[in-house]
Amino acid sequence: MKECYVARSRTVAARQLGEEMVIMSAVDSTLFNLNPVAALIWQAADGKTPLAKIVEERICPVFDVEPGEALRDAEQFVTELAAHGILLLAESPILDPSAATDKTP
């Protein structure tokens, strides 16, 4: 995968529940329950930080995982969420601030 930028879609509902993140797509009402690793990626998806950097700085230091494998898993994860309209993907920074603004507690 080329350089990948990810941003949270503004059409979703989301809430941290314990260590997990609950997300519902307003597009198709699909409910997702993100595990702690996926929740970290979601929270870091500001549209400006490349996915590789998110994995390197937010995932690898916290979870005992090999960087190449972690990035492959992360790419698969963001592709799946993008298919449901949960995340926006682009090869360059996503500048729409509404997509990256998040007040989720």
Partner: protein, 365 residues
């Protein structure tokens, strides 16, 4: 177990109020004959108060937010409330009569990311619907609002409260739902007013009509399954909670009062005097509600319907005992299955408005 069931179970374990129902006003442009509210707009929540409370709900972990009333679109700050709720990433469901919805409103609701809109429709016949709402032209305006919201891409559900005056019209409302691309839901329960006035219970659908509803495959799917006798009861059922009210959900009035549910008028605290987290964690009333398991329901524990009954603890509370049976639900269980409930046999729970078994009528609501 579905993801939603897992979510509810997790919220229960964590003590999280997963769902909050907020009535932003009791004012309304309709005067529905069966309404349980008084339409008093005095001292209702300010915009700043609502914003602050929404923030508190989100910090407590609330995910599902129902905005209702009264008619919420009567508030001048309605869209500010909706849009702030969506900024906080709530899953927002709106309950409205849709009379005031114009094209621009529908588009704005869609752009805000409102998940679903529930609209009350009582009949496909204007003379019936408008007589219930006491607002001439209301069916036409409501359906126009529904069509505008559907055209904007919103998910709409037509909610059909069924009572004596519209008993024969649910098929017509179902057809309207299909025509507009909306979902359809039916509710045959008329509840007492929140001030305790039970005079409106006389509008409840008579037993004969309710029995017919329960045997209509267009409403219940497989009639044999729906009306099957109750299954055996096990320890999991006895240890279960009777309802999510007060456990993972609550209701907040336009005066900042917190209740377990909109149908459970047990005051648990006021958000103008205490924080939401304080009330949710420490209200003596909420703690009492949470302490109740099915095995604590003195009459219902011996009832064969314990595992399948729709017993509403709020209705039971309004009948005088939150651990007792709810006569309306006893009646539903009986009419659905033909099997008498423990509440009926004990002579404590049959609606005085039922006509099917007058000998069992014991109480006045």
């Amino acid at each position: 177990m579905s993801l939603m069931e897992q979510l509810n179970r997790k919220a229960l374990g964590l003590g999280v109020p997963l769902s909050v129902h907020l009535d932003v006003t009791y004012r309304c442009n309709e005067r529905c004959e069966h309404c349980y509210l008084e339409h008093d707009g005095k001292n209702e929540l300010t915009t700043a108060e609502i914003r602050g409370f929404l923030l508190q709900f989100s910090e407590a972990g609330a995910f599902f937010l129902t905005i209702s009333g009264g008619e919420p679109l009567l508030r001048r700050d309605f869209f500010e409330i909706i849009e702030f709720a969506r900024e906080l990433k709530f899953n927002v469901k709106l309950k409205t009569n849709a009379v005031l919805v114009r094209e621009n409103d529908a588009r704005r609701l869609r752009e805000a990311g409102v998940e679903q809109v529930q609209v009350s429709v009582y009949s496909h016949k204007p003379e019936i619907h408008d007589a219930i709402t006491k607002l001439p032209g209301s069916l036409s305006r409501t359906l126009e609002g529904v069509r505008l919201m559907r055209a904007a891409g919103l998910k709409v559900t037509l909610a059909n409260v069924l009572m004596r005056s519209n008993a024969g019209d649910y098929a017509g409302v179902q057809a309207l739902a299909a025509e507009t691309g909306s979902q359809y839901t039916l509710d045959p329960t008329i509840t007492p007013m929140l001030n305790g006035d039970s005079s409106i219970l006389g509008m409840r659908l008579p037993a004969q009509g309710l029995r017919a509803v329960f045997r209509d495959a267009r409403l219940v799917g497989n009639v044999d399954d729906f009306c099957a006798p109750p299954a055996p009861i096990d320890d999991e059922i006895r240890e279960g909670i009777p309802c999510s009210a007060g456990h993972t959900s609550c209701y907040v009035s336009p005066w900042a009062d917190v209740y377990p549910c909109v149908q459970f008028p047990l005051p648990c605290g006021n958000l103008r005097q205490q924080s939401f987290s304080e009330i949710w964690a420490a209200s003596a009333q909420l703690l009492e509600v949470r302490s109740i398991r099915a095995k604590h329901l003195a009459t219902c524990l011996s009832c064969s319907h314990l595992g399948t009954c729709t017993r509403c603890p709020g209705l039971a509370f309004m009948e005088g005992n939150m651990r007792g049976p709810s006569s309306a639900d006893c009646e539903k269980s009986f009419l659905r299955t033909g099997v008498a409930t423990a509440g009926m046999l004990a002579g404590s729970a049959v609606s005085p408005h039922s006509s099917s078994h007058p000998a069992l009528v014991q109480i006045q609501l």
